[in-house]
Amino acid sequence: MAASNSEVWQRGRIVESRALTPRIRRIVIEPSLPVKVVPGAHVDVRIRVAGEDDRRSYSIVDATADGRRIALSVLDSPRSRGGAAVMHGLREGDEIELTQPLVDFPLRIGARRYVLLAGGIGITAVSAMAVTLAAVRSDYTLVYVGRSRSEMAYVGELQALHGDRLVLHVGDEGTPLDVRALVGAIEDDTELYLCGPIRLMDAVRRAWVDAGLDAPNLRFETFGNSGWFDPQEFVVRVPALGLEATVGPNTSMLEALEAAGADMMYDCRKGECGLCEVLVLDLDGAIDHRDVFYSEREKNATGKMCCCVSRVVTQGATPVVTIQTT
């Protein structure tokens, strides 16, 4: 499917906002410049957080055939950087600015078999794919993992749509996902589409490599917003620029450096391209690599980090990282 990424901004009117779980709201929008939506698409939404213009990416969960109505689903978690609260505050009749659909995670039609794997709110990125695969009568399984059923959106709808093709793994019901077993059962011509927290993604990527499966058949989308550790406030120092900044738990190191006046290079801002890489000169703490740019080997070395997503953590005092920028 053609990946189209020309950013066209438009207005959108909220026509529905309702709670799906205590922490997830479904938000239906009527965009002013509707276009047909392909599976794997997301929109970027312009929001104001703490007086600053900012943007967030949300997958399109479902849409009408003509794209005149698109639905997002937004999780508000303690780790959210303020965008979710704004989104949760939207009510019917409110207006927002958003892009036309962007596609970084295109579904390819024509694979022999598919596994769609969603962890938690990651279901928003793959549920439209499942609908399309059902429509073209592909062989697919939708695997949906969550901690507890009360926190998993759309379970009933997915069961109705996909029947036996839906496999649920619910932590507190004693049916957690065994990643090694799942990946071990995958055959050569299967494509796996994955969206979920970084722990799940790392586990699947590791199992995929160990199973000797074809790397290109593992496809995933990351919005670069989850890590192995809870975000913590830390200090970043840039001696060459004579700069020091405090990175709060809800901002990124890149944002903090920009706010402190550093001229930073970046592109994706979600841990994929590696353009925001900084050299780590000194480290008081440990790096929580949240990117998908570095290999496992590179992450074990601690000389570099992608400052758009990755963070620094310690057990006790405030962690400090001293860096050199490009």
Partner: protein, 365 residues
């Protein structure tokens, strides 16, 4: 919207199978060809599967067709060496240890059928192989022949117009297949949602040079009059197979007995390239003297000469259209086949949102 007659440069549906190449053109070299406005890099995997990728690298859009094939099914960008598999998924990024998760180029649905490689550049979820137009005479048992491709600098619809009305043979192809009975004889037009048929019979006429030669290939020394037929089968959006032939006059061909004649099929499928250019794939198939490679070559070369006359006219016509933007088309009764073709195409364009909806016809008061 502009109505059928005055829409002089017609857009093309995207949700359709178009021929991208002959079977023999798709091999372990990379072919660069634009289909329905989409530049493609076309090749065959080591397993023989045809592949059509967007001809623009994910990274900086360098044309992949300038790259090289690697491994069993891959292609390497000529610029910074990113490699993709036949699904269009990046398989290696030379300067890093991981693969960017968004690194893909579109891989378009492809079907190889009737000696052609067909590609679908529209919505891939609609790309049903059963929608490939019927060109079965291309490789069915009992038929043989060969053809060529013409790159024509005109809107594809002008070629369809040309093939849907063969009265032009009398004027444009007077030395080979033209004869005055063509414009004098009656024809019958019919249509369905996806097809248009124009049928014309000329009874008890002297065969023109092309058909006399064909009759003598099958019936050495043949003299006399023939019954001649042209049955034009259009299948949307742009395939036209023309059942043509002559039989000894009065031997029952109009009633279905073609045993005393020669039968050919002029196979034409027109792939829009851009708005004013198209790839015109054609072949002349026959169902007699299958063993003769000489006849195959003679027919291909003979038809090729005839089609050169069409090509020259089509280019001149497109130039005149562009030079006279304020002049409109008018229609004749002989255009009924071509006008049905336009209407079927315009309905598809409308369904794809490529044509504004037709105004509701004014009700006469």
């Amino acid at each position: 919207m502009k109505d059928s007659t005055v829409n002089k440069v017609l857009d093309y549906p995207r949700n359709a199978w178009y021929v991208a190449a002959w079977d023999h053109e798709v091999n372990r070299n990379i072919l660069s060809r634009t289909v329905a406005g989409r530049p493609l890099a076309i090749y065959r995997t080591e397993d023989g599967q045809p592949v059509a990728l967007a001809d623009a690298c994910w990274h900086r859009l360098a044309p992949l067709s300038m790259g090289k094939l690697v491994g069993r099914d891959g292609i390497q960008c000529p610029y910074h060496g990113i490699r993709y598999n036949s699904a269009g998924r990046c398989i290696s990024m030379p300067a890093q240890e991981t693969i960017n998760p968004s690194a893909t180029v579109p891989s378009f649905p492809v079907v190889e059928r009737f000696r052609f490689v067909w590609v679908w550049v529209g919505d891939p979820t609609l790309a049903e192989p059963s929608l490939v137009p019927d060109m079965s005479q291309m490789d069915a048992a009992g038929w043989t022949g060969d053809g060529l491709t013409i790159e024509v600098a005109c809107n594809y619809q002008l070629v369809l117009d040309n093939l849907m009305d063969l009265t032009h043979e009398e004027f444009l192809h007077g030395s080979s297949i033209g004869q005055e009975e063509l414009s004098e004889s009656d024809f019958v037009t019919s249509h369905t949602d996806t097809t248009v048929t124009v049928e014309r019979w000329m009874l008890d006429i002297a065969p023109p040079p092309f058909w006399l030669k064909n009759m003598r290939d099958r019936f050495p020394g043949f003299e006399g009059n023939v019954d001649r037929w042209q049955i034009i089968h259009f299948e949307a959006p742009s395939t036209i197979c023309i059942d043509v032939g002559v039989a000894k006059a009065g031997t029952g061909a109009p009633q279905g007995d073609r045993s005393q004649g020669v039968n050919g099929y002029v196979m034409n499928t027109i792939t829009p390239e851009r708005d004013r250019s198209c790839h015109y794939f054609w072949s002349f198939q026959r169902n007699y003297r299958l063993e003769s490679q000489l006849i195959t070559t003679q027919l291909r070369d003979g038809v090729s000469r005839v089609f050169k006359e069409d090509e020259d006219m089509l280019i001149a016509q497109q130039a005149a259209i562009d030079a006279n933007p304020d002049y409109e088309f008018y229609s004749l009764n002989i255009d009924s086949g071509g006008m049905w073709v336009r209407r079927l195409i315009e309905r598809r364009l409308e369904a794809e949102g490529l044509l504004p909806a037709a105004p509701v016809a004014a009700i006469a008061s």
